[in-house]
């Protein structure tokens, strides 16, 4: 299969997955037994204004129009980026709420994933190359750390380093006492607020990357080409970077796309613990307020973001690995 055909297949798969997620978001409220929509509407009657009720009716599929027509209207609205109106923060559009939180999640999850991937890969490579304490103590310890739920580690870290020692701020993403402007002072506040959540995410996920890279590098180290390179007396740095790293990092990159969904899920829960104003925090607000339009919009946005990231990793693999192009 040529490289382009392979890429087309992958992108086709993501497209089908995206369509499945969209359709599930449409079908679920209309399929669930016991009509939770009616129950929710009844509970909100009197509490929410008539416009909010109307918006909710539309989102929940309480409508007399035929299903096909509703589905068409749903898809049309999505193409315009219209995800409906939030019930708990009526009349703010869901898309606006999600957009406002997106930056914080991208910052936290992006930075943590990048640090964790680089650090874990480096540790894994070192463990495969040198062994020793890295292999016998650090590796198993990090794997053990990974056995705890992400958000539970976050609670522990916040308890000890936030409430106990007072080294880190306790909630939110910036200093409320500093005016939000592109100043150094405000930026420092953002860094300070992101530090502890990012550290817990890195701590929870770095063991997995290390293990993956170690396994991958081990198999490369055992090949004849590495033996020959060492026999030729090439400097260690060159053997590691040109012979081992280049080959070992590729299967590892594939794993990056796969693990992304899990890391994003972990980041969402971690945000909840730190009241970090990203998508995860918004998600828990939506669950508590039974704000179904917001909940659906969030799930859709997160799913599409993960699919897009997967597609990006596939394109990257194609560019980096000549074997996928030759095959």
């Amino acid at each position: 299969m040529s490289a382009l055909a392979w890429l087309a297949r992958r992108l086709g798969l993501y497209a089908v997955a995206a369509w499945a997620a969209l359709t599930l978001g449409f079908a679920l409220p209309r399929m669930v037994p016991g009509d939770p929509a009616a129950a929710l509407l009844a509970r909100l009657q009197g509490k929410a204004g008539p416009e909010a009720i109307a918006a909710l009716r539309a989102a929940l599929g309480v409508s007399d129009a035929p299903l096909v027509e509703q589905y068409g209207a749903y898809l049309l609205a999505l193409t315009r980026g219209d995800l409906g109106v939030s019930v708990s923060r009526f009349p703010t559009p869901v898309a606006e709420l999600i957009g406002g939180a997106l930056g914080w999640t991208l910052l936290l999850a992006g930075v943590s994933v990048a640090i964790s991937f680089v650090l874990g890969s480096a540790l894994g490579l070192a463990a495969a190359w040198r062994g020793g304490v890295l292999d016998t103590v650090v590796g198993p310890a990090l794997t053990l750390l990974g056995a705890f739920p992400y958000f539970w580690l976050a609670m522990g870290a916040l308890h000890v380093f936030g409430f106990g020692l007072g080294w880190f701020p306790l909630r939110h993403a910036w200093d409320t006492s500093v005016a939000p402007a592109p100043t150094l002072e405000f930026g420092w506040g953002v860094v300070r607020h992101a530090a502890l959540p990012a550290l817990t995410l890195v701590g929870a996920s770095v063991g997995g990357w290390m293990l993956g890279m170690r396994t991958s590098a081990r198999s490369i180290l055992a090949t004849d080409q590495v033996l020959l390179a060492r026999a030729r007396g090439l400097p260690t740095a060159r053997v590691v970077s040109a012979y081992v790293l280049r080959n070992a990092v590729l299967p590892h990159l594939t794993g990056f796309g796969m693990a992304l969904g899990f890391v994003v899920s972990g980041a969402l829960l971690t945000e909840v613990v730190f009241s970090y104003p990203g998508e995860g925090w918004l998600l828990v607000q939506a669950v508590r307020a039974q704000d179904y339009p917001l909940l659906q919009g969030l799930v859709l946005a997160i799913t599409l973001a993960v699919l897009a990231a997967n597609a990006l990793v596939d394109v990257l693999t194609l560019l980096v690995d000549p074997r996928t192009r030759a095959a």
Binding site: L144, M155, H159, Y292
Partner: protein, 301 residues
């Protein structure tokens, strides 16, 4: 017919034995512990009391005994995790076996379904499903099975594709055995070590996903489970009041079970690799807290 099926035996790998022993003790504690600790929902002491001789792990924000809650929570959480794991493996094995054995358009359709489920991130999908189902253990099992089966389907399909070319399978087919019998009797018994490892992996995944969903408030807040324990700990200001005892025992429990299962999985995978009758089964990758999901299509693997 040359196939042979090994009798069930104790795992040989020391990691698997250690994991099994650890898991066994936790299951025993979860089963019989609550008989000695009383009603986990009854307020028995002032709220947020630190550990004492009367209440070894202190009390929650509602004045309930944390030890009783942790033991009672283990029952439900382990039960849901295991049942959902069993469901995910059965569903995945069925889909994978049908796809691998039938081939043709059936395989194409089922493989597409499998791959789509694999690339969709699990937690958001589970949140969507859980939000619409009535809260409780049955819904949780349904959510976990429907989001967790696909990896098993992929692994079983790959294995069935290999096995169906074997001589004894061809012989059975030529002898006129119906397809269902060929799959159930000639092929699936060879996958037993693989399926055992898959069950452990699925249970690890379910443990994390379940606790996460309940922590978000998508469980039944009135039930006593590990997830709702953490949900209430967070809601009752465990961090603000520095009441570490309200969330540390539950988290340690989750980690202990996760560790036991990871050890068991590593051991079973090693055993499956050495003890398989013919082909070395494709084993799950490295034991992480959540099993990695492979988004690659089979031909590029």
């Amino acid at each position: 017919m040359t196939f042979h099926v090994e009798r069930p035996r104790w795992p040989r790998d020391p990691r698997a034995r250690l994991g099994l022993a650890l898991l066994g003790s936790i299951v025993l504690l979860a089963t019989f512990g609550p008989l000695f600790t009383g009603d986990p929902t009854a307020p028995v002491a002032p709220p947020l009391a630190p550990p004492s001789w009367a209440h070894l792990l202190g009390t929650t924000g509602q004045g309930q005994d944390v030890l009783a809650q942790t033991l009672a929570g283990a029952r439900v959480t382990l039960g849901v995790g295991f049942v959902a794991g069993l469901g995910a493996v059965l569903l995945g094995a069925t889909v994978g076996a049908v796809a691998g054995y039938a081939g043709g358009w059936v395989d194409d359709a089922l493989s597409l379904l499998t791959n789509v489920t694999l690339v969709l991130p699990g937690l958001p999908l589970a949140v969507l499903l859980a939000a619409w189902l009535p809260p409780g253990p049955v819904s949780l099992v349904a959510v976990l099975v429907s989001t967790g089966w696909a990896w098993n389907a992929r692994v079983v399909r790959a294995e069935v594709l290999q096995l169906r070319r074997r001589d004894w399978v061809a012989a059975a087919r030529l002898a006129g055995e119906p397809p269902l019998r060929v799959v159930l009797v000639e092929i699936l018994p060879n996958l037993r070590p693989l399926l055992a490892a898959a069950l452990v992996g699925a249970t690890i995944y379910n443990l994390g996903a379940q606790v996460g969903l309940e922590f978000l408030g998508l469980g039944d807040p009135g039930a006593v489970t590990w997830g709702t324990n953490l949900y209430w700990a967070a809601n009752d200001g465990a961090l603000l009041t520095r009441s570490w005892w309200t969330f540390v025992p539950t988290g340690a429990g989750v980690a202990a079970v996760g560790l036991a299962l990871a050890l068991l999985q590593a051991g079973l995978t090693a055993d499956a690799g050495s003890g398989a009758p013919v082909d070395t089964p494709v084993a799950r990758p490295a034991p992480r807290r959540l099993p990695a999901r492979d988004g690659r299509s089979q031909e590029t693997a």
